[in-house]
Structures are given as structure tokens and as C-alpha cells.
Amino acid sequence: MANSSVSKPKTVEVRNSTTTQPMTTMSVLAPALGWLIPGAGHLIQKRWIRGLLLMFSITTMFFLGLAMQGRVYRPNGGDILDILGFVGDLGAGGLYIVTRVMDWGQGAIAHATADYGTKFIIVAGLLNFISVADAYHIAIGKKP
């Protein structure tokens, strides 16, 4: 049985999904400041409670990691896992810079908790990346 139906050209509604957000000073400043000082990207936009909670959580997690003798990764680790660890650590922004300048985070592996500490430091950095993205979304009006 021959298929006599003629396929009609489907009309495809093409929407312009690449609507560009207007570049404002805040949309640049908030993420940059939020990366440098965890929670500051929210504080500068007058999201006081959110900013303070983010600052408290990320900073406390980072310093708990250091207090547990966690290791802070260097950029020239060589090993791929070390590079990933460095990317995670780098998320903490200013905290990472201060730690490197003060030469903290040498990571004495004599303690079992040192490994937890290393993970705390990495996760604090990764959580700050999420916080930075959130500050950007607030700045462009995507989030209240």
C-alpha cells in the first residue's frame, strides 16, 4: 500500500534563544567580588542575609579544612588530579590567595583528618563557584 500522503513541510518556529543580557557594571562587579570574598557578590547587591550565610559557610568550611591540616594544591601539580584539586581550591578566590601568600595548607598527612581537610578546602572553593554564579544571576535580574 503506497503511502500517498504528502509530507507537508513543517513550520518550525525559530525563537531567538540567544538573547544577550545587557552588560552592566553590577553583572561584572558582583561575580568578581563574590569570587574574591565569598558572599560579597550578594552583599554588594543588598542581599544581606544570603551574603552573610554564604560568607560564613564557605569561609568556615575553608578554615576548618586548613585547621584539619588539609593540603592546598599548587598550580604546577603535574598530576591530573592535582590540577583538578587546584581548580577546586582556586574557587575560594581571596581565601586561596591569602593561604598561598601565608604559606598555609602544607598538609601534614600524618593525620587521618588531613584528607578530610583537603576535601573541605576543595569543596569550599567549588561552593564559592556556585555562589559566584548565583550573584551573577541576581545581577542580571534572572533571580530575585
Binding site: L53, S57, F63, A108, Y116, V123, L127, A133
Partner: protein, 70 residues
């Protein structure tokens, strides 16, 4: 800053695995709650949900390891 350096150099915080997991869950849940939901009430609910899932996951993993060890 120097004070902080002295404290960090002299102190080694030795937490149990469970305490470390609880602290991890608490801080991660706060950040998830704030960043993943829009309205304040939803943020609290989602934060509590994440915390419960983290802690529940710790207990579930603990029981799985106990069963594997037998």
C-alpha cells in the same frame, strides 16, 4: 593575620568521620539552599532537604559498608 597563622600552625583539628560529614552537610546545604531556589521559604525547605539527604546518605553508606564487611 599573624594570630590566625599561629593558631593554624599549632592547632590540628581532629574530627571524627561522622562529625566531619555533619559539618560538610551543614555548610553545603546552606549554600545549595540559597543558590538553587528563589524564594526564602523554598530556600529553607531545599536546604533542609539537602541536609536530610546528605545525612541519610551517610547512614545508608554506613549500613552498606557494614553489610559488605560481614
Amino acid at each position: 593575620m599573624i594570630m590566625a597563622q599561629m593558631i593554624l600552625a599549632q592547632t590540628t583539628l581532629e574530627l571524627s568521620h561522622f562529625t566531619a560529614a555533619l559539618l560538610f552537610s551543614l555548610f553545603a546545604s546552606i549554600v545549595f539552599g540559597i543558590t538553587q531556589r528563589n524564594d526564602a521559604r523554598e530556600q529553607i525547605r531545599y536546604g533542609l532537604y539537602c541536609f536530610a539527604m546528605f545525612v541519610g546518605g551517610v547512614f545508608a553508606a554506613g549500613w552498606v559498608m557494614w553489610l559488605l564487611r560481614r
